[in-house]
């Protein structure tokens, strides 16, 4: 546009003269995080609304928040405990199964809903400006809000299974918190991938199903996997690790392993940092294409 001199167009110079700011540019990473923090109330409101609206359509309303996990627990205990009569070398199979099923479901729904957070909200993205990172984060937070009543059910079932309440139970929120942070990080990575190549969303369910059989949801990994290399890999696999941490907090027979807590914290921090960074990298391009 301009003849000689700088590459800046006359309009760009006019903008500079009057101190106008560019619209639609990706802010530096730190200010991006600061902007997201400023809009945290919006994220929490989106998450809470989503978790709440799930149960509103029916006579029982929010009773379903507790009834749904209670019915799931009933079905799993009926099938695995009564019909199949398998305890697979675990003394308190009831407690083991309920913790495994509930917390595994938390991770899978976090990742699958979080990965679609950009593509499912195209209209919202196309009409309002806000840090897009709020969308996958809200999707995962909605799953955490849905999990909270389920945790109450889980604790009741664990107590009913004969487990004494000990001080180690105080570690449960920490285990769930780490799992939540990890899920958020993974959701952020998938949200960008799916926004750029939608077909990736079709692959997510297969990954999650593979995780189901390699995370020790229904049985103890150490009871079935004998190859030491495979066992070591599966034990440090994040989802299996978080199930193990929650079980070690609630069940006497699962030993508390300090190195497992370090691994759990490492996966959570690592996934969150990589996820935020990776998601931020395409911030100015989320939109209709």
């Amino acid at each position: 546009m301009s003849a000689g001199g700088g590459a800046r167009s006359p309009l760009a110079q006019l903008a500079a003269e009057h101190g106008l700011q560019r619209v639609g540019v990706r802010p530096p990473f730190e200010s991006y995080l600061a902007q997201a923090w400023e809009r945290r109330h919006f994220m929490v409101a989106m998450a809470a609304s989503k978790a709440y609206a799930r149960n509103q359509a029916g006579y029982l309303g929010q009773v379903w928040a507790v009834l749904t996990p209670a019915l799931w627990a009933g079905v799993y205990l009926l099938v695995f405990g009564v019909v199949l009569q398998t305890n697979r070398g675990i003394a308190n199979y009831t407690g083991f199964l309920v913790v495994g099923v509930f917390l595994f479901h938390f991770s899978t729904s976090s990742i699958s809903n979080g990965s679609k957070a950009i593509t499912n909200n195209a209209e919202l993205i196309g009409s309002l400006q806000f840090p897009r990172v709020l969308l996958p984060m809200a999707a995962v937070l909605a799953e955490l809000f849905t999990l909270l009543p389920a945790l109450a059910v889980m604790i009741v079932v664990v107590i009913a299974s004969g487990e004494p309440v000990t001080t180690s139970w105080l570690l449960l929120p920490l285990a769930v918190g780490l799992q939540w942070i990890f899920g958020t990080g993974i959701a952020l990575i998938f949200a960008r991938l799916v926004a750029q190549v939608r077909d990736v969303a079709r692959l997510v369910p297969f990954v999650l199903r593979a995780l189901m059989y390699t995370s020790g949801v229904f049985f103890s990994l150490s009871h079935y996997v004998h190859d030491p290399t495979a066992a070591a890999i599966l034990q440090h696999q994040p989802i299996a690790l978080y199930l193990e941490l929650a079980r070690s907090a609630l069940l006497r027979e699962v030993p508390a392993d300090p190195s497992a807590w370090l691994w759990g914290a490492g996966w959570a921090v690592g996934a969150a940092v990589v996820g935020l960074w990776f998601f931020w990298g395409a911030e100015e391009r989320y939109g209709r294409g």
């Binding site: 309009l11 609206a53 509103q56 100015e284």
Partner: protein, 268 residues
């Protein structure tokens, strides 16, 4: 095309510099009529197309200006506004703004399964209000919406007019520096139209710069002192309202009071 940088003593509030906006669509593809069967397969596999909605638009808006955007359906008016709001990425070109530029409208942030009350809070947060500002303006929003005890019912249960009133009331809670309105005035009944007109005037006064997309030429005439005419994503004319509307009427052969033919079936 008018010179966008015409020497003016006015302070610019918005600069749009050679902006292009493209977007991908999934699930369909435009093909020439005589396409071979192999290329027709592309309707089913790899059915991704790129729409070049805005192609090289430049203009400068100043503080205190009200600008109307006209053009037929699909000319890129709404897409351009979304790009200015920072909601759609530009493929090329730059947009500069003095302060915040945002669209009047909050529909996409609301949830049909939630009550009106919950949606007021959710919508206002989406617009960028702080919880303190929401507490302050909550009663105002409720008054403007005027939907009585339906406020406690989910928005799913609202008539289309009630939904429109609530959405409008929420969206006017924000006070952007550059206000963009996309066909937002044609909602609700007569009484509400009058009240909403007052509220729009209030926001317009605060904003200083207004961009209005409308198919109603009488709205454009009454609100705008300058008009941009877009056609197929390109700027055809930029000038004082009366001049551009006259040119539009001449070139398109359409009376400027009613530029687009109405479809026979009513559209909600």
């Amino acid at each position: 095309m008018a010179d966008a940088t015409a020497g003016s003593p006015l302070r610019p509030s918005l600069i749009v510099d050679d902006v292009h906006v493209h977007y991908r669509t999934f699930g369909g593809r435009r093909l020439p009529d005589g396409a071979s069967w192999t290329s027709r397969l592309r309707r089913h596999v790899g059915a991704v197309d790129v729409v070049r909605a805005v192609q090289g638009v430049s203009f400068v808006a100043h503080h205190g200006e009200s600008i109307g955007l006209i053009g037929h359906n699909g000319s890129g008016k709404s897409t351009l506004l979304r790009a200015i709001a920072g909601a759609l990425p530009t493929a090329k070109g730059r947009i500069y703004a003095d302060g915040t530029a945002s669209l009047l409208g909050v529909n996409a942030a609301l949830m049909r399964d939630l009550s009106g009350e919950a949606n007021i809070v959710l919508g206002a947060l989406a617009l960028g209000l702080t919880p303190a500002q929401i507490r302050e303006r909550y009663d105002d929003i409720v008054d403007l919406a005027g939907i009585g005890d339906f406020l406690h019912l989910p928005m799913r249960a609202y008539s289309s007019g009630m939904g429109a009133r609530l959405r409008f009331a929420i969206s006017t809670a924000s006070r952007p520096d550059i206000l963009m309105i996309d066909e937002a005035l044609a909602t609700g009944d007569a009484e509400f139209k009058q009240r909403s007109g007052e509220r729009v005037a209030e926001i317009v006064e605060h904003a200083g710069t207004v961009l209005l997309v409308s198919h109603s030429m009488s709205t454009i005439r009454s609100m705008c002192d300058r008009v941009l005419w877009l056609d197929h994503g390109r700027l055809v004319a930029d000038g004082p309202t009366a001049e551009v509307l006259e040119e539009y009427a001449e070139r398109t052969g359409r009376p400027v009071a009613r530029p687009t033919p109405r479809p026979k079936t009513p559209v909600s």
